[in-house]
């Protein structure tokens, strides 16, 4: 166990969770605004942060990942900073917020994913500050119908109970749940009816995440259902079942499907790398005579493959990786033809 522990990643993970814990203490004014009932959520969140940073740090140590991580940051802060920053912001909207590339895979998938992703992200944006005690509400002194919202212990704004603001603030998580449920049903439909998905999906990676999201959303909505329509009679059940499902989700976040949320932004680093490549020298395939990638990418891949223990150098100089994919297929076909030719028969 100890021998497989990645010390450097462990260091980063401990540092991240310590910083997060410190920010909770500071943001909740020495825990005075921290809601003790949410302690289990807090510990699960700290564990998730630890796990996510650990896995991320291990992931960054892989040669190809390290390449893009380093190149991405180096390029961003290079002399092309303004252009690359603009590119980054454009893609942030296009790829991470609107998720256009998923719509290109199919419109139904795009819609389902946007609903699910924004449902989850908005739910986190609301619950994390609440759990950390960064946001809390009090009744304004001398009134019984005006609430005060506090951010990091500072008074932020007032709103009347029963009004539009109150309705949306107190029900914001319900709106998130509805978005998540709509998205999940879109994906469940696909996973149950698409033959290709049925053949390749696994329960843990593809179905369990959806089931978990349904449970979280339904129990979350159940809390409102309970106090609006059942006079709070099922509160304990709803609160506990909701807590269990959310905590399971948090504990599983670093290991399962949802880790892709943290991996996806790497796409932005890749985009900068590709833009830099397009502006520079191109690799021309010796077989087709056409440019097929940036020189930088081909050279970096020679380096990465050699770090991974591959050696694609040709005995007569050059590398098999100098060929474009089409060139590689042609080289194989020619070698095959030559071998057949040598044997004296093309078929056998």
């Amino acid at each position: 166990m100890l021998s497989t522990l990645n010390i450097r990643a462990l260091g980063w993970a401990l540092l991240a969770s310590a910083l997060l814990a410190a920010s909770v203490v500071a943001g909740s004014r020495n825990l005075q605004n921290f809601d003790g009932a949410l302690a289990a959520y807090l510990f699960a969140t700290l564990f998730a942060a630890f796990g996510i940073v650990y896995r991320y740090a291990v992931w960054l140590q892989r040669p190809p990942t390290r390449l893009y991580w380093r190149a991405g940051w180096r390029l961003l802060f290079s002399r092309r900073f303004p252009a690359y920053l603009a590119e980054l912001l454009r893609r942030l909207v296009d790829e991470l917020a609107l998720q256009r590339f998923i719509w290109k895979r199919s419109a139904k998938r795009g819609l389902a994913h946007v609903l699910l992703a924004w449902g989850c992200l908005s739910a986190f944006a609301i619950t994390i500050p609440l759990v950390f005690g960064w946001i809390h509400f009090t009744l304004r002194a001398g009134t019984i119908d005006v609430y005060e919202a506090h951010l990091l212990g500072f008074h932020a704004f007032d709103f009347p109970l029963g009004g539009f603001v109150a309705l949306n603030l107190f029900h914001a998580l319900n709106w998130s749940s509805v978005l998540v449920l709509l998205g999940v049903f879109g994906f469940l439909r696909r996973r149950i009816t698409d033959a290709g998905q049925i053949a390749t999906q696994t329960f843990e990676m593809d179905l369990m995440p959806l089931v978990l999201l349904v449970l979280i959303s339904v129990t979350g909505l159940g809390l409102t259902w309970d106090y609006e329509l059942m006079q709070g009679r099922a509160h304990a059940f709803m609160a506990i079942s909701h807590a269990i499902t959310v905590i399971l989700f948090l504990l599983w976040l670093p290991f399962g499907k949802f880790f892709h949320v943290f991996q996806r932004p790497a796409q932005l680093g890749v985009a900068l790398y590709q833009r830099e490549g397009e502006a520079g020298a191109q690799a021309v395939c010796p077989h087709t005579g056409e440019a097929f990638a940036s020189r930088m990418h081909v050279e970096d891949l020679k380096q990465v493959t050699s770090e991974l223990g591959y050696d694609y150098r040709l005995t007569g100089g050059g590398s098999h990786l100098d060929l474009s994919p089409q060139g590689k297929r042609a080289a194989l076909a020619k070698a095959h033809l030559a071998a057949r030719n040598e044997s004296g028969a093309f078929f056998g």
């Binding site: 591959y310 150098r313 005995t315 590689k328 044997s343 028969a345 078929f347």
Partner: protein, 194 residues
């Protein structure tokens, strides 16, 4: 989920010399349920100005898949049956590392979808004991999926080879290439493409 009824004794045999360039496999490949109506198989003119030779290429399902090792997103996985799967759609960040590093020139990237896709041995079919789409339609025997015995009976003068050398790198694959009898490896070392 379908129950896996993999027929362990059935293998894929590729004989590029038999390819007549009819593209039937490409049409069939696009029917495979796992790649969304896109053909993953490659049918190329090898050197169109010089000869009418065509060649067909499927994913060879390498034992140590270069594509998976160079993937920065851990998006490509080899399963316990030795099948190297197409990119995990949640993870692939469309960097093209796999496209450029695969020694057989197999993966295809669809930039708009930010997704690499490749042959996964028609997983929906082969995992249920059926032949891959391409092998069911190839009229010339360039693509064959079946038992080793059956292949030996059909091609008495050829040997299936699953070891390749690309320059200094040896690559072992799950898919076989039919070579002159007695051959043990196929060497691709630049040649006239250098």
């Amino acid at each position: 989920m379908t129950t896996t009824a993999y027929r362990g004794q059935e293998e894929f045999f590729l004989d590029p010399q038999r390819c007549i360039g009819c593209h039937a496999c490409e049409m069939a490949c696009a029917e495979c349920e796992t790649n969304g109506q896109l053909a993953m198989i490659h049918v190329d003119y090898v050197d169109r100005a010089e000869s009418p030779q065509t060649a067909v290429q499927v994913c060879m399902h390498c034992e140590e898949p270069t594509c998976a090792r160079v993937c920065p997103a851990d998006a490509i996985a080899k399963d316990e049956l030795g099948v190297v799967h197409s990119a995990n759609a949640a993870r692939c960040i469309a960097c093209s590392n796999c496209v450029l590093a695969c020694p057989f020139g197999v993966p295809k990237k669809v930039e708009a979808m930010k997704l690499m896709m490749k042959c996964n041995l028609c997983y929906d079919r082969t995992s249920a004991g059926r032949r891959p789409m391409c092998a069911t339609v190839c009229p010339s025997g360039a693509l064959y999926y079946g038992t080793r015995e059956r292949m030996a009976a059909m091609r008495p003068n050829s040997s299936p080879v699953n070891e390749f050398r690309f320059g200094l790198q040896r690559v072992k694959t799950r898919v076989n290439v039919m070579m002159p009898k007695g051959s043990t490896e196929l060497v691709v070392d630049g040649g006239d493409a250098r």
